[in-house]
Symmetry: C2
Subunit: 144 residues, 2 copies
């Protein structure tokens, strides 16, 4: 058991475990009555990158177009987003946030980030720098 033939798999398992544990911890920090995971992710994405088509949203979250259609349906039903037309291609639907959607997204995001910010504040500068590098690397991996 002292060999390292599975060194890569071991690292993979470590990363998978860490990502899963932090993700579930994030999820458990959701407060009563707050938005669900998909809703927050979609609101955040539109907030950051502007109006998006259904296909853009479904690819960003790696879910099926049908799943995303239902997620945005919940958002529009709640008055957080609206459907708009793309003049250049009438098949497309551009989803835009309402003022309520923008406000709720910002509030929920900062609430969910609260516990993480507390932990990050206790780290050393070196640890924070390392984590920033790791986050960039993980984002690159997720996109590849």
């Amino acid at each position: 058991m002292s060999g390292n033939a599975n060194a890569s798999s071991d690292l993979g398992a470590q990363v998978r475990s860490a990502v899963g544990r932090v993700y579930r911890r994030f999820r458990s920090e959701r407060v009563d009555g707050a938005l669900g995971d998909s809703a927050v992710t979609v609101l955040t994405f539109i907030h950051k990158y502007g109006p998006q088509t259904l296909t853009q949203l479904s690819e960003a979250d790696r879910v099926s177009p049908a799943s995303m259609s239902q997620s945005v349906n919940r958002l529009t039903s709640a008055g957080l987003a609206v459907r708009g037309s793309d003049p250049s291609d009438r098949r497309k639907v551009l989803f835009t946030l309402t003022p309520e959607g923008e406000a709720l997204a910002a509030a929920d995001i900062s609430q969910r980030n609260a516990w993480l910010d507390e932990r990050l504040a206790t780290l050393t500068d070196d640890e924070r720098a390392m984590l920033a590098e790791a986050a960039a690397l993980l984002n690159r991996i997720a996109d590849s």
Copy 2:
């Protein structure tokens, strides 16, 4: 917009984004007919740490005992786990994997890790070492 008053929140947002993106990517790598997220997590945990009570499992995943009860119900219905008694405390239920559960857990885990291992293989030694440190740090954060 050039200040760094929110440096901590920025790092938090980066980490949150990276974790969410990798997690969703993991989820999307699930193959047809494979186990769901909760099932894999529970099977992996029991496989790694041995028979567990419901409370232990629910705390490990940070879900309610009621949610975990239903998750393990799906596992026992599928013949992947069995309920056992704790002689020292008859309120407790010890969940143990069947041979089928052990085999399926191992197979599904390696399948889900496949794409990550491919990416990790393209990294430099320094990057892998950094990622291992980051994973340890994230696990520590998730537990705190």
